[in-house]
Amino acid sequence: MLQLMLRKPENGRMYWEETIRQMSSIGLGSVGIVAFVAVFMGGVSAVQTVYQLVAPYISLTVVGSIVTNSSILELGPSITSLVLAGKIGSNIASELGYMRSSEQIDALEIMGVNPVSYLVGPKVVACLTMIPLLVITSISMSILGGMVICQLTGLITFDQFIEGARSTFLPYDVFFAMCKAVTFAFFISSVSAYHGYHVQGGALEVGRASTKAVVYCCVLILLGDYILAQLLL
């Protein structure tokens, strides 16, 4: 399938337009849910961190450090990818599955269009470019969420939070987060496209393919998360 995807396009402009359309659908279409989840993720992790730091000899600035680091290293890339596996993964699998069962993929093939290249390629490219951007958004919103919750609830001030965040920030952590984002983006796009593209049957099988795609994506993301942490940290 990957080999077919890399074949020369029949018309570069049409492929480019489809890629932009997918980028818009995957990227802009997921900003809302990603930001919403991230804000609460950051807020909750800030509250729970303060709850655990009851010892008077621990500076509360460490809350900023913990929320920032956990957002960059884990919450941003991994939890966002799990959310996106549900949203984008099921969408890709069901879209391709429906196109397969309604003979739209056969129609493309008979026209002389390489359906793998035209349908799957732009989705993979769109995921590889947009998911890292969504992860950056998620990290930013998570830190912001933590900061705002700390200020609003009077746990610590903005300044204390920022001081803590700066004290342990390492640019390498962002690189690590981006490595995870790109890897997970590839898992989400390719696994769900595979399951959707190879659907045989009708509505029931499309639903099954969509569920399977999400489950396999989540398992791969969790496994990949562990392997990347072992390899890169």
Binding site: M14, S102, E103, A107, E109, M111, G112
Partner: protein, 251 residues
């Protein structure tokens, strides 16, 4: 012209097509008929290259499909138009964009020229003015006609129609049949229609191939089909009690 020489196909142990020989000529509505499960759809998918035969050779004019490389196959596919049973229109695109899709992909020209071609094809199938509708807004018969318009937009030399009348009322069915017949005669293309609708067969079957359990057991035209002594074919042609009684009375 399309020529089949000994086409066979098995799925597991089950033989779906068994040594099919046939020649489909241009300018004629060639029909492949048979009961459900007789192998019609597999034969059509084999002819358009979606299914690879286990044995036999398939010629488009004098070029063998099995020996074509990727580029030749793609070039051939641009000469093929196909109407699917479900019409297979792209749901996310309007009627206009559905018809523009193959043009933009393979014959990009000025916007005006492409739209003119689309307008002509829609006019040809009697659907002028539906350009901005989505497939979900069309009736079954309209979808089939848009499917035909999309199939002819690149001026194909070969037109395949898989069960063009399925799910349509008799009047719309006949309208689709006449459209296919007119297009075939007008452009002198090789048209192959899969059907088990006897009205269609008797209305416009210039050349008919009957499949029974994956084998070709009869070949002829619509005049001959009523006089055939092929029992499985007669069971299909005279399926209703009314026609059986009519046949018995008329001897």
């Amino acid at each position: 012209m399309i020529s089949l020489q000994g086409i066979s196909k098995k799925f597991g142990d089950k033989s779906v097509l068994d040594d099919i020989h046939a020649t489909f000529l241009p300018g004629k509505v060639n029909m492949v008929i048979g009961a459900s499960g007789s192998g019609k759809s597999v034969l059509m998918k084999t002819m358009v290259g979606l299914v690879k035969p286990d044995a036999g050779r398939l010629f488009y004019k004098d070029l063998e499909l099995g020996e074509m490389d990727g580029d030749q196959r793609n070039e051939l596919r641009q000469k093929i138009g196909m109407l699917f049973q479900s019409a297979a229109l792209f749901d996310s695109l309007t009627v206009l964009d559905n018809l523009l899709f193959p043009l933009r992909m393979f014959r990009p020209a000025s916007k005006a020229a492409m739209q003119e071609r689309v307008a002509y094809c829609l006019e040809r199938v009697g659907l002028a003015g539906t350009e901005m509708l989505f497939p979900s807004e069309l009736s079954g018969g309209m979808k089939k006609r848009v499917g035909i318009a999309r199939a002819i937009v690149l001026e194909p030399q070969f037109l395949f129609c898989d069960e063009p009348n399925s799910g349509l009322d008799p009047k719309t069915s006949i309208r689709i049949d006449h459209l296919i017949q007119d297009i075939t005669n007008e452009y002198q293309i090789t048209t192959i229609v899969n059907t088990h609708d006897m009205n269609s067969v008797l209305e416009c079957g210039d050349h008919i191939v009957f499949l029974y359990k994956g084998r070709k057991t009869w070949e002829g035209d619509r005049q001959l089909i009523l006089k055939s002594d092929n029992e499985p074919l007669n069971e299909l042609v005279y399926a209703t009690r009314f026609l059986q009684q009519f046949r018995e009375k008329s001897g």
